[in-house]
């Protein structure tokens, strides 16, 4: 009797194990298929990216006299000389002597809008959280001029290396009520939130794949999000204190992430969930 019972239990265990393996295989295949279909979804959206509308608007803003000085932005120096747009985005953030700071695209645009056009910082970034804001349009326009070029943040000034080191420290620094860091989610392979894959910024291939898409049209927001906006919102989601627009914290994080993604060929503007 005991023999029979043991045999039965072995058989049951064997059946359960087989079922688990089969279910696991089926589940993995289903999972793979889901990711393939999501890739198809993304591919279908690439042609006809609404970010192109922001590029058009940005181009208009760039060449229109605005602000108290009624000047255009055509003399704005994004690091490669006044008015040089081609490749400028791919090499930001960088050190600027005239500002005495390392600046990213947004903070450099603010600098140009305040110095050339006579705007206040508040005027320059007005409505930056609203879809279709001027800043969103300008960054999209500037980024588009680096499409097809490799990400190559400037490495010509010691303060740039310093900002990158600060960015790296911030990336790993746990903070806030959740004791969370960027690295909590973004230093591991093949992690995701629901069906959203998370880039691993410690892996250059994964970092490039992510960074070449920014700025990106977010279909959930009906708006282009710049990298700066993405990072500010990451910090908010970590429940850390809000970071200011154009602040050194954001510039430092960008400097580190762009370095991690060096060599990635820009596809900006991208399109994302």
């Amino acid at each position: 009797m005991r023999e029979v019972r043991r045999l039965r239990s072995v058989v049951i265990r064997w059946i359960v194990a087989c079922a688990c393996v089969l279910f696991g295989v089926a589940w993995a295949a289903e999972d793979r298929r889901a990711l393939d279909e999501i890739q198809k979804y993304r591919d279908m959206l690439k042609d006809g990216n609404p970010a192109d509308l922001m590029e058009l608007k940005g181009e208009g803003l760039w060449t229109t006299p605005r602000g108290p000085k009624q000047a255009t932005l055509e003399a704005c120096d994004l690091g490669l000389g006044p008015g040089v747009l081609e490749g400028a985005y791919a090499q930001l953030p960088r050190w600027f002597d005239d500002a005495g700071r390392v600046l990213d695209t947004e903070s450099r645009l603010i600098h140009c809008m305040t110095t050339l056009q006579g705007m206040t910082t508040e005027e320059a970034i007005q409505g930056w959280t609203r879809p279709g804001s001027d800043m969103e349009a300008l960054v999209t326009f500037v980024a588009t001029k680096s499409r097809g070029l490799p990400i190559r943040p400037s490495q010509s000034h010691p303060r740039e290396a310093e900002m990158s080191a600060i960015g790296e420290a911030l990336f790993f620094r746990r903070a806030g009520p959740l004791d969370f860091s960027c690295a909590t989610c973004h230093s591991l392979d093949a992690r995701r939130i629901r069906l959203q894959e998370l880039p691993n910024f410690l892996d250059p291939a994964s970092a490039r794949e992510s960074m070449i898409q920014w700025p990106a049209y977010r279909v959930s927001q009906s708006a282009v999000w710049t990298l700066e906006r993405r990072l500010i919102d990451c910090i908010r989601q970590m429940r850390a204190p809000d970071a200011d627009y154009g602040s050194d914290v954001i510039v430092a994080l960008q400097m580190y992430l762009q370095r991690q993604a060096s060599g990635g060929v820009l596809e900006a503007p991208g399109i994302k969930r």
């Binding site: 939130i193 977010r218 969930r273």
Partner: protein
């Protein structure tokens, strides 16, 4: 057995065409310079076909409907529809579980190919229909598209 039925339908189609010619029912709806509120208020495919006139829509393999099985976000779901039905006059897109089922109707005049791409919002996972009108008749194909909830979003 088949013959009288078909004969009846041919007759019925003739009558409908005559009504359409007289302007009593609008065979395309999308031609109008007014927005067709009645069409956008329908709750089902059948109801829309009833409004358009003619027999109930029949399922057709001559409509090629390309869309991802899973949409990463229901706010933007890309669709590509190609009809191989001769004489295709219009293509409509319907989303089964949206508050307003009809999303769009495209009227294709003579010389315009029966190929349309558009993007729709989907409130939840459900069937999406491509409805083709040709010669006063309605044809459709359906595809189920799943809508996922994303994470923090790229």
């Amino acid at each position: 057995m088949e013959y009288p039925r078909r004969h009846f339908f041919i007759k019925a189609a003739g009558v409908i065409a005559a009504f359409a010619a007289a302007g009593w029912i609008d065979p395309t709806l999308a031609d109008s310079v007014e927005w067709n509120k009645r069409a956008f208020d329908v709750k089902t495919l059948d109801e829309l076909v009833g409004l358009l006139g003619g027999e109930p829509a029949s399922i057709s393999e001559a409509i090629h409907f390309d869309a991802p099985d899973i949409a990463e976000n229901g706010a933007v779901v890309p669709l590509a529809i190609v009809s191989a039905i001769p004489g295709t006059e219009s293509i409509a897109i319907l989303v089964e579980k949206n508050p307003n089922v009809l999303a769009a109707m495209f009227t294709l005049p003579e010389g315009t190919l029966p190929e349309i791409q558009a993007r729709v919002k989907m409130a939840e996972t459900c069937n999406v229909y491509a409805l083709v009108r040709a010669g006063g008749r309605s044809f459709y194909t359906a595809k189920e598209i799943k809508v996922t909830l994303g994470g923090c979003g790229g």
